[in-house]
Subunit: 145 residues, 3 copies
């Protein structure tokens, strides 16, 4: 894995076999990144599980073959004092058709090129909203008090 | 809705039931944002209509169920002295397959996380090009004179 | 074609009939851009060929009709002392369904709105990795020595 930093921006190259969430969470933790955006990621997933929120739960779909990652976007916040990633993706299979949704888990295939922006001095949080059964992004946790 | 500003960048959280175009246009108007980019948006659309340009008109498709928003990108300009948004999107349905195209209208479901960049001091315009029947982005309206 | 520059960011409007790779490579060459990211592109492709990496080669798919470009992301590096673009895309056809993958070639239809970020002072490279038969992004070519 490679990471370069330029101001508030990072470019990462994740490598074959790395767990996406584990790797990006470790990166956020190491950099002290408490508020950020995954501007985009492209590359390949060897394995991935995507979900569709049906109102009460994520209906999962586990991909059985590697897919090209054509879009990967989301936000980096904090939840229970740990990095919290919310990522959505679009993935192309061998027939070039796209599937996607809420990304539940993913393992990099070959590589993943990722651009991340941080908002230093800020903290985004992702508290559980019990009425929805979902964690919801809170951009101004201090303001809620 | 929440909005945080960091330099030329904004992070927005739109809320359930909000009209996407109305909300982003109101945001652009309030911030005096005359040139910008919707870097990405993710979340859910409760309702949306997408279009495919067939050469003479947008062939519309109205989604009958909520969809995960896996990609939302576009530009913010001015048209007839109002904010003008040009947005394209990729949306995942309950079967995880993706549909998308030119976004005609959308209502947020649950939430929408959006990152916007502004180009202060600039004005992008989107004048109607009569020969095409389309509004086209003009990055340097002053230069055309 | 129009190009505006704001700090390390560029907004481009590519025009109908332009070759995407040729145009962006020419832009990178002219600007001396040796490390960059295509944050996003939206618009239309009159023609395009996309690929799925099957482990040994890109399985190509040539589109027979124009498609809406709903996502276009990637990185700009150097390879053999020339600009090297790695782009993935999601494209919507007349039936609004999406196809996509690794972008092999594309011709703009109507227009393409593109946002690019540069990382001045850096050079990304994309050397051939013979064992994979693929060019792989190297963010820190100096560090490998």
């Amino acid at each position: 894995m490679q990471v370069v930093k330029e101001g508030d921006r990072f470019v990462l190259r994740l490598d074959d076999g790395q767990d996406l969430f584990e790797t990006l969470s470790g990166f956020a933790q190491k950099e002290g990144l408490r508020a950020g955006a995954v501007v985009f990621g492209i590359g390949m997933f060897r394995k991935a599980t995507i979900g569709y929120w049906d109102g009460t739960a994520y209906k999962p779909h586990e991909l059985s073959v590697p897919h090209e990652v054509v879009a990967l976007h989301g936000t980096i916040a904090r939840a229970d004092d740990n990095p919290s990633l919310h990522l959505h993706c679009a993935l192309a299979g061998p027939d070039h058709h796209l599937v996607g949704g809420h990304l539940i888990r993913a393992t990099i295939g070959i590589l993943q090129e990722v651009v991340i922006e941080s908002f230093p001095g800020r903290t985004f949080e992702r508290p559980m909203v019990e009425s929805l059964g979902l964690r919801m992004l809170d951009l101004e946790p201090g303001r809620r008090a």
